[in-house]
């Protein structure tokens, strides 16, 4: 389980209606991409930070760490804008610094906006919501089962890895590669076996091969909250368009 999965499963906004979180997260993402980065991007970053830390209750340090992870890629990409390779070798690109900072700001704001959705909503809720936009139930169910299996297989791999290490299977490179190969080879039959037993467990509860339907609690959507989110987005858009 990644830190993002963990936070998504436990944060204060987990039970909020998906429509609200999607409107906010995708709205912030769209604004970050559409508006000129200055001063909209910093404003979006501030809003996203407030939403995640004050709203969803994620500690600021955790939020900073999660946001910083993709930033490495953004900075590498931006760095290439600063320099140019011409006839005289490598030189500073004209206007390169401005372009690089604009790109960094915009990308950071976009990531932060999207993270307000992914940090407050478990992946399984997002996948389940695909049904409401017309994706066939079978595909959604397969995706959800795959997700569950990835988690279980991840745990299995982790404990197999620990068991190998405990028996000194990782003391040098040669042995580590050998051990890892054996682990990978073993993971498939173990996972298939698990799938087989899961099928028996489902059948025991009356599953006959049709839909894997479960009751999904759907919190009531509040029109007032939706309106507030919309107002916030509009305010951000006006601020981003008019202030520069």
């Amino acid at each position: 389980m990644t830190p993002i999965d963990r936070i998504a499963a436990t944060n204060r906004w987990r039970g909020r209606p998906l429509v609200e979180k999607a409107l906010l997260g995708l709205g912030l993402l769209a604004l970050a991409l559409a508006l000129p980065p200055w001063p909209a991007a910093p404003a979006i970053l501030v809003v996203a930070t407030l939403v995640v830390t004050r709203g969803a209750g994620v500690p600021l340090a955790t939020w900073a760490k999660i946001l910083a992870a993709p930033l490495g890629f953004v900075l590498t990409g931006a760095a290439t804008l600063i320099v140019t390779v011409g006839d005289h070798g490598v030189a500073l690109a004209p206007g390169g610094l401005a372009a690089a900072s604009a790109l960094t700001l915009r990308a950071t704001a976009a990531i932060a906006g999207l993270l307000t959705l992914t940090l407050t909503t478990p992946a399984t809720d997002l996948v389940a919501a695909l049904r409401r936009v017309g994706v066939p139930a079978e595909i959604v169910e397969i995706a959800l089962l795959t997700h569950r299996f990835l988690l279980v297989a991840g745990d299995t791999a982790q404990s197999m890895n620990a068991a190998q290490a405990a028996r000194l299977g990782h003391v040098d490179w040669k042995r580590r590669i050998r051990s890892t190969g054996m682990l990978a080879a073993n993971l498939l039959p173990r996972t298939l076996d698990r799938a087989h037993r899961l099928e028996q467990g489902l059948a025991a509860r009356g599953w006959t091969g049709a839909s894997l339907a479960v009751l999904r609690p759907e919190p009531p959507v509040s029109i007032r909250r939706l309106a507030a989110i919309l107002a916030l987005l509009v305010a951000l858009a006006l601020f981003g368009c008019l202030v520069p």
Binding site: A128, L144, R197, A204, W207, T208
Partner: protein
Amino acid sequence: MSLLVAEGLTYVYPGGVPALDHVDLAVARGRRLAVLGPNGAGKTTLLLHLNGTLRPSAGRILLDGAPVAWDRAGLVAWRRRVGLVLQDADDQLFAPTVFEDVSFGPLNLGLARDEAEARVREALEALDIADLADRPTHMLSFGQKKRAAIAGAVAMRPEILLLDEPTAGLDARSARRLLATLEALEAAGATLVFTTHDVVLAHRFAHDAVLFQDGRIVGHGPARDLLRDAAAMDRAGLDAVEA
């Protein structure tokens, strides 16, 4: 009359491992039945037969005196009445949250949304895990997973509840708490059949017991007497309960 009867059940796993050899067994309504035996004796295999998951190569199974059928309709009717909780809860939990997982069985019974939801709440309450309803199934302790898995079967209100090692891996107090929970379910009308390696627990909790060894029943009778019978217990490779 016995609620569930198995006669001459014989089963060989694909690959040639013999697991059941002419097993006769009767489950009486309201009498807790403990199934004991060493590892590999065939306890899990037996439970998988009692709800139709595995089909015996010989023998038959009667539910309320009527032979069961292994076709789709027969299995559906069978599993409405006989619930099964697997040895490993991770094999059973599949939905993102506990609430959603427990709702799976009631929906398969064809219950309406409201009624299914009431069943889920009731089962979570009965298993003492109402506070875990919205927890991801993946983020539970071993004992909590076990309770969630049992709730999934209980929500279907089966007449017989088959439990494969329900207390294995639980600390002594949690095991006792779980047994108290099961007793309450029994008071609500479910007959319990469970496997266990804990002879003392079986002695205290079960009314009847069967002893397994190498796919055969080597002893059956009232738990109080059978589990103290050193000779009978020795035949199953088990240590008798001290008197």
